[in-house]
Amino acid sequence: MLEIKNLQVRLQDEDKQILKGLDLTVEAGKVHAIMGPNGSGKSTMSYVLAGRDGYEVTGGSATLDGRDLLEMEPEERAAAGLFLAFQYPVEIPGVGNMTFLRTALNAQRKARGEEEISAGDFLKLVREKAKTLKIDADMLKRPVNMGFSGGEKKRNEILQMAVLEPTMCILDETDSGLDVDAMKLVADGVNALRDAGRAFLVITHYQRLLDHIQPDVVHIMAAGRIVKTGGPELALEVEKEGYSDILGETA
């Protein structure tokens, strides 16, 4: 599904190489986790895949279902099935959460040549998804992420994912700033979306999220590359030993 080959990226404004030949393949139906120390390039990877400005791809490729992601505008990537749950979801005053969600869903449908969803069907869909994430009517009515707690913002990201039904979901440190209960809610939301046609890439510092979202494959990223790949046991190893031992091994 997602295929990254020898991806090399540097920051546009400063002469700094962040990704230095990243290789990663995520198959449909699988959950991959990426762990790694600060500054290893995890967030850069997620932003480059989603199409944020400020990065220059100096080499390599990234495709989603064989389509060149790097050639597409951010909105085209979304319509193609890519979703990035932000580490820091953005507050947008004056734009209602529902308006935002409906605009996004209909824009994606339009881009795919599908019909717009009716107001009634949309309301039903959102209410149903919101309920399982314990997002109440008041949160739906409020402006996007305004006055939301850290946990509410992350749940709102998962709600967007549930409504938009992307095929490739990237979660960028979705566990940061969450207490145990909030993390469980978020994990339940993600697990409910697991299916044979959908893949996940879970970026995290800590093993604890992976207790709730069981990964199929775990990668360790350092200095802009994947340095080690293994099963769920690799995450436990990181938790026990820290990164230095593992990185020492591979150096």
Partner: protein, 433 residues
């Protein structure tokens, strides 16, 4: 009153030429007020760009004895069309009875200035030109005096109860040279309640004065979408006196327009009174020159009053926005709550926003704040929206709506606010690449 003016000879000459070209109505109850206003105008003289409050806005379009022609905007879909209201239509500043509703609204006495002015006695006699006459502070407003002297028509409203529906003053332009001078007087008796909708652009050149006198506990909502005329050359003045416990809320939407200046002088005269004034301006220089100016003076002269100024300007392709806003808190006006914010969203690097916020406070127990910002579209928010599949142009439009939301929130009636938002959405949709 003012410092000695520079370049007096040229000013006197321009003023005399302007006055000579006026065709002011004669006789009637307004005659003394018109004569006094004419004397005021002659004394003040027309403004020049050297005058403090005209430094950023060129008055020449308003100074010229005859207007520069301007094409009328063809209105395809009038705003507030579906709302229940009593509509009074003025075409090129002339009342159009055919196009208007029967001017009957329970609790509201409705008269036309041009008709009422045939009599010597009228309730509006004590008000016509009175608030304008007191409103030449902190600066002179010669075009308001000119208006009082020369207005050919207008609406006189006296409200005694709660009006069951809004009164709608609808302007239409048909002639490319119409030079329109309209003067409205609105008096709300104690506890009265009215919503006034004022829509469109009256003429090629327009000068509109509205004098509002709110008695104790009265409430006036004023909603003014000024149309979409690209060639608009319009100056308006809103003079209000607000008595104890009364409330004025005024909102203006200005889309397009070569030269629009909206002045307001709101005098808070009774304890516990409330004055809110807000505006959204939308200008795209690609359509032609855009210049929009809000010049506001809020005068707190009583205890425990609240004022809010919320002005938002969205500018692109060389559009120009001006904000000059002053709050005066007089001695003894304790517990004043005064707030002022003026912000611009510049959609490119060619546009310009100039702001002059002023506070002058002579009471010690007050809460006054003001702020002014200029910014571009927030790139992080834009990326967030696009990453959810919203195309760039639509995402930009959503962020513009987000930017103006605080000003829209000043409109109390949800349905009317929706109509205003729909106008803004339409304006943005027509400007997608």
């Amino acid at each position: 009153m003012a410092a000695p003016k520079r370049n007096m000879a040229a000013r006197v000459e321009a003023t005399e030429a302007r006055i000579a070209a006026l065709d002011a109505p004669k006789g009637g109850f307004t005659a003394p007020a018109r004569a006094a206003a004419l004397a005021r105008l002659a004394e003040m003289g027309l403004p020049t760009r050297r005058d403090e409050y005209w430094r950023w806005t060129d008055p020449s379009a308003f100074n010229a004895p005859r207007p520069q022609g301007g094409a009328a905007f063809r209105v395809d879909r009038p705003i507030f069309e579906g709302r229940d209201k009593v509509r009074l239509v003025f075409v090129d500043g002339v009342f159009d009875a055919e196009a208007s509703d029967d001017p009957a609204l329970a609790g509201v006495e409705i008269a036309r200035l041009a008709e009422a002015d045939r009599a010597d006695i009228h309730w509006a006699k004590a008000l016509y030109g009175a608030l304008e006459g007191e409103g030449h502070t902190p600066v002179e407003r010669p075009f308001a005096a000119l208006n009082t002297a020369a207005a050919t028509d207008g609406v006189l409203l006296r409200v005694t109860g709660k009006a069951e529906k809004p009164l709608h003053i609808s302007y239409r332009q048909s002639s490319e040279t119409a030079d329109v001078v309209l003067h409205h007087v609105i008096r709300l008796e104690p506890g009265a309640d009215l919503t006034v909708l004022e829509t469109g652009t009256p003429g090629a050149r327009s000068n509109v004065v509205t004098e509002v006198d709110l008695a104790e506990g009265a409430r006036l909502h004023h909603l003014r979408p000024q149309g979409r005329a690209l060639e608009r050359q319009m100056i308006t003045h809103l003079f209000a006196r607000i008595a104890e416990g009364a409330m004025l809320k005024s909102f203006t939407l200005t889309a397009n327009g070569r030269m629009t200046r909206n002045e307001a002088v709101l005098r808070i005269a009774g304890d516990g009174a409330v004055a809110h004034i807000a505006g959204v301006a939308l200008g795209d220089g690609a359509d032609g020159p855009y210049h929009h100016d809000d010049t506001i003076f809020i005068d707190h002269g009583a205890v425990g009053c609240e004022s809010r100024q919320v002005f938002k300007k969205v500018l692109k392709n060389g559009g120009q926005g001006i904000f000059q806003g002053k709050i005066l808190v007089r001695p003894g006006a304790q517990k004043t709550d005064g707030y002022q914010i003026s912000q611009s969203l510049l959609l490119d690097e060619d546009s310009q926003f100039l702001a002059k916020p002023e506070l002058e406070i002579y009471a010690d127990d007050v809460q006054c704040s003001h702020g002014s910002t200029t910014g571009a579209i927030d790139e992080t928010a834009l990326f967030y929206l696009r990453s959810r599949g919203v195309p760039k142009e639509d995402a930009t439009a959503l962020l513009v709506l987000s930017f103006v939301a605080d000003a829209i929130a000043e409109i109390e009636d949800e349905g009317l606010a929706e109509d205003i938002v729909a106008r803004i959405e339409g304006w943005l949709a027509r400007r997608k690449h």
